[in-house]
Homo-oligomer: 255 residues x 2
DNA sequence: CAAATCTACTTTGTCCGACAAACCGATAAA
DNA sequence: TTTATCGGTTTGTCGGACAAAGTAGATTTG
């Protein structure tokens, strides 16, 4: 145990980091609210007394962290980090760690069941209406695997929203981003895949309407098992998530 | 539906983003392995044909995303994004969204139970040894709430590691980072809090040793319920996580 | 009077060149 | 063998510059 120190640890962080930290502090502490303008780069230069290049490096850090964005006219403003954007980073990390589909499946089984059970308990009328709207759209695009896969992903996002638990919502997102891109592949390879998917969604919605937790849990499990069986027709569960993800990322980038 | 287009959508992303994306592609695709050097800024300037300021902005983006780091001599190298670092961003996001302890508790109940059940099934001898080591340390610091709280957080991290499911490991981390900082407070306010905590850990370890899934699930639930009861003595579950987190963050920064 | 257009100013994205401090490697000195 | 010294790199920061795009106010037009 050292004696009480004479000197405080000196802060050797580079200037751009200090700029980023200073702005971050203001936002996290709530002194700057989401949507508030941060001021122009020139103003920040004046306030911090550093060069514009330095300010810009700090800004990039915060932009990437999701605390800052540029509005339509590219002026800076504070913002609430969107789960979705952060989840993308996490998904990428999972890919790099060469996570397998088995891990993804197991985790999703837990997360989606929890999300469903909460949704059954807490879904509001609006939540139900959104889910119903999604279901209707799904039925229209039943013959288009890509569109149906997108509907499926949305359905589960809506379900997580209906759980009214943002932690759960956030926790499931990275796995879902890797999990659901495979849906298109499965739906187009497995006969009856599309109709079974929609049937499961219909029963899930019905369970929510009746506040029947057991039915909800049962149908989400069945839905995921369907995915698993479908997936195993095409590839091994122990394959790393890497390839699928790469292809999907490419497709998204084209949009 | 548009006719097949004559021209491809031109890419108007700013140069620093393209630099970041180009490097990201190389890393995510595996052509650059974690640990590989990226080359000096000057080299990147040459390769991309843009200014150094531009390159540096791109580098900041990737550094923040965890794909790039600077080694001891500040040279750039690729790296695997650590869950922990990303989880910190997520935790911050949860704070900004004013998540409540109730949400945190419910999600953790799901995530920790799943993590425990997997650990019971799959923990290796090394996992068990690590958990046992942690338990021994806990018993030594039973009178020191801060140290005990740290042990508790570590215990659950080790448990997640023992689950051998990296998706689960990642999914629980953000919640845990917000959840466990309160442990110190609870342990020091609730008589028997420390001993109950250690008893729960002991039973959890025992359940893993005996591969007794039901016992594992039961004890982790009990452990979390203990937390909840303790917490409710001090504050309301419906309080936003914000204040606690802010104080904890300050404490960590001082370290 | 309202709408459209033009013009002057601001802001961002990028570039150039520069320099001190830190770091690396190798050689010289103890 | 260890320590000290000395160039050569590399990073972090700086100042200034300019084109493109956006903004807002003034001006023209219907």
């Amino acid at each position: 145990m050292p004696a009480s120190p004479l000197f405080r640890r000196i802060d050797v962080a580079p200037a751009y980091q200090k700029v980023a930290e200073a702005i971050e502090r203001e936002i996290v502490s709530g002194r700057i609210k989401p949507g508030d303008p941060i001021g122009t780069e020139h103003e920040l230069v004046r306030q911090f007394g550093v060069n514009r290049s330095t300010v810009r490096e700090g800004i990039r850090v915060l932009e990437e962290g999701g605390l800052l964005r540029r509005d339509s006219s590219r002026r800076l403003q504070a913002c609430l980090p969107r789960y979705n954007k952060l989840a993308t980073r996490l998904s990428r990390a999972l890919v790099l760690h060469e996570v397998t589909f088995r891990e993804l499946f197991e985790a999703s089984m837990t997360l989606e069941v929890a999300s469903t059970e909460s949704a059954v308990e807490r879904a509001t009328e609006e939540d139900i209406a959104e889910l119903a709207g999604n279901l209707a759209r799904s039925e229209q695009v039943i013959a288009d695997p890509a569109a149906l896969a997108e509907c499926d992903a949305d359905f589960h996002v809506l379900m997580a929203k209906a759980s009214h638990n943002r932690v759960l919502q956030l926790a499931r997102e990275p796995a879902a981003q890797l999990f659901f891109p495979t849906t298109e592949m499965i739906v187009s390879h497995v006969p009856q895949g599309a109709s079974r998917l929609i049937e499961a969604h219909r029963h899930l919605l019905e369970a929510i309407r009746r506040r029947d937790k057991a039915a909800g849990a049962q149908w989400i499990r069945r839905h995921l098992q369907d995915w698993r069986r479908g997936f195993e027709r095409v590839a091994s569960l122990d394959r790393s998530v890497e390839h699928m993800y790469m292809e999907h990322a490419k497709a998204v980038r084209r949009k």
